[in-house]
């Protein structure tokens, strides 16, 4: 029982990371109908920049973990702007339907190569800001860092939700997502909103990167698998449902940790992918996805 509880806790922590990355996929999809397939690389870059600031790899530490967060978030946002300007905007301008797919993948590969050259190909340990001794909750031992992952992910998503509902800029983002032409008539610069959504998307990925880095290893290749699984989560939960990615993320995270323990670590990715295939064949808009009804 204690073991199951422990697996659930780790699964939830992992799932929240997936949810944060998937949230980033949603944010750009909502405003522009495009996705950054280099989202995993945005996560990886965020983690490595964080490591350079808070770790010893670049002669540091220059900042402690908490002070490292603002510059990492800023870096993530700027990286998102670069992705939008270079890979996405030209495709939107020429109304190329699939151009952005190839260009965001290409840019992601370039980012990975650059990271390999700067930080090397090996995985590096990331210093944990919290004690590494597990704490005991109902007999299960949980890493304090795992709790921070869950809290951090929730705080970030609630923060964005608050921004969208309470501020005029957030309302403009929501308006752009529902009707771009009409939003333009309101005086909203919708291409700026799209750039912003890319900044937000990469910023959340960078945040996810520094959240998960202390419980895994950090390296140029860490983002590829996470980015792909988060994409599966976004599809499972629904590309337009915030609740969907949280539920989808936790489902996938728990499926992985339990399969890894009870079946074999070699098969831990299988249940999630089966879930993905099931959702796609039964409810293609995702578990919580809304099929939009247009009133004319």
């Amino acid at each position: 029982m204690a073991i199951l509880l422990q697996l659930l806790m780790s699964g939830i922590a992992l799932g929240m990371i997936y949810a944060v990355i998937a949230f980033g996929y949603q944010s750009t999809f909502a405003t522009s109908g495009t996705l950054n397939f280099g989202q995993g690389e945005a996560l990886m870059l965020g983690a490595l920049v964080g490591l350079s600031l808070a770790g010893t790899v670049s002669g540091g530490p220059y900042l402690n973990y908490w002070l490292m967060l603002p510059p990492v978030l800023l870096f993530g946002a700027l990286q998102g702007v670069v992705v939008e300007r270079i890979a996405v905007r030209p495709a939107i301008k020429t109304k190329s339907e699939f151009g952005w797919i190839m260009s965001t993948i290409a840019l992601g590969i370039i980012f990975r190569n650059v990271a390999e050259n700067i930080w090397g190909r090996d995985d590096l340990p990331f210093p944990s800001p919290l004690p590494t001794d597990p704490i005991h909750i109902f007999g299960a031992s949980v890493l304090p860092m795992e709790l921070l992952v869950v809290v951090g992910a929730l705080v970030m998503m609630l923060g964005v939700e608050f921004f969208n509902r309470r501020t005029i800029y957030g309302k403009a983002v929501v308006a752009t997502s529902t009707d771009r032409d009409a939003a333009g008539l309101m005086g909203i610069n919708t291409s700026m909103v799209i750039t912003f959504s890319y900044a937000l998307s990469s910023m959340t990925a960078a945040f996810a990167g520094v959240l998960i880095a202390p419980v895994t290893l950090t390296g140029a290749s860490m983002g590829a698998v996470l980015g792909l699984k988060a994409f599966a989560v976004a599809i499972i939960g629904g590309l337009n449902s915030g609740l969907g990615v949280v539920v989808g993320g936790i489902l996938l995270g728990v499926a992985e940790t339990t399969t890894g323990f009870y079946v074999s670590t070699g098969y831990k990715d299988v249940p999630g992918l089966i879930l993905l295939l099931l959702v796609l064949s039964v409810k293609p808009s995702g578990l919580f996805g809304k099929t939009t009804i247009k009133k004319v």
Binding site: V174, A182, L185, G187, N189
Partner: protein, 240 residues
């Protein structure tokens, strides 16, 4: 105030406007009538920047606004209540109205009394006051139309473009919409009105243009168009 000259526009390879010219003077209500597909909505879309014209010029006062993106034209004071209403269904009535005033609310300071204008808009459309915290998508068609108009007014525009404000509405609501247009006219609002109900539109307008196949076929003071036998036969005949 607003001057359109030799405007041509196309959707892909299909050209829909072939040299449209029209003028709206300050304080005037000008109506654009004509059958479906004549190019009325396209003309409106080109003025507000939803569509980039192929050629021709559009001037707002002294300024050339041809081909500017919609948000810049909006910030210069052109409000467009578009065809099909286009309210933001997942946001509340109040949020929709605030978005109408978006360019007055940005950069941390409100330009003018936005809250006061919100109250005035709700006074003008009392049905919206009752529903101000409801999601716009839950409103009836008529209420959505009123919201679209109120939202456009929140900009405090120099020129208000109204595209088919009566479309799909019950007769009693059509009357209400025209009552409001008349009230705005008394307050001195400059308006360009596209309408199916040609008789009602000419009744409220100072000047009118009749469009046919992407061209202006007839133009003149509204009272004159009302008596024009050709216009009467084509657009005012029958039940009106």
């Amino acid at each position: 105030m607003l001057k359109v000259e030799n405007l041509t526009a196309a959707y892909g390879k299909v050209s829909v406007l072939h040299g449209v010219s029209l003028t709206v003077r300050k304080g005037q209500v000008v109506t654009l009538i004509g059958s479906n597909g004549a190019g009325k909505t396209t003309t409106m879309r080109a003025i507000s920047g939803m569509l980039v014209p192929a050629s021709g010029t559009i001037r707002l006062g002294q300024q050339d606004i041809t081909g500017l993106p919609a948000h810049r034209i909006s910030r210069l004071g052109v409000a467009h209540s578009p065809e099909g209403r286009r309210v933001f269904p997942t946001q509340t009535v109040r949020d929709n109205l605030l978005l109408g005033a978006f360019s007055r609310l940005t950069f941390g300071r409100a330009r003018g009394d936005v809250e006061g204008d919100l109250e005035r808009a709700l006074d003008l459309f009392p049905r919206l006051r009752e529903r101000k915290d409801q999601l716009a998508g839950t409103l009836s068609g008529g209420e959505q139309q009123m919201l679209a108009m109120a939202r456009a007014l929140m900009l405090k525009p120099e020129v208000l473009l109204l595209d088919e404000p009566s479309m799909g509405l019950a007769p009693i609501l059509v009357e209400e919409v025209f009552h409001i247009i008349r009230r705005l006219k008394e307050e001195g609002m400059t308006m360009l009105l596209v309408e199916q109900f040609a008789a009602a539109a000419l009744g409220v307008a100072d000047y009118g243009y009749v469009m046919e196949n992407g061209r202006i076929a007839v133009e003149g003071p509204a009272v004159q168009l009302q008596d024009d036998p050709k216009v009467r036969a084509a657009y005012l005949g029958g039940g009106h």
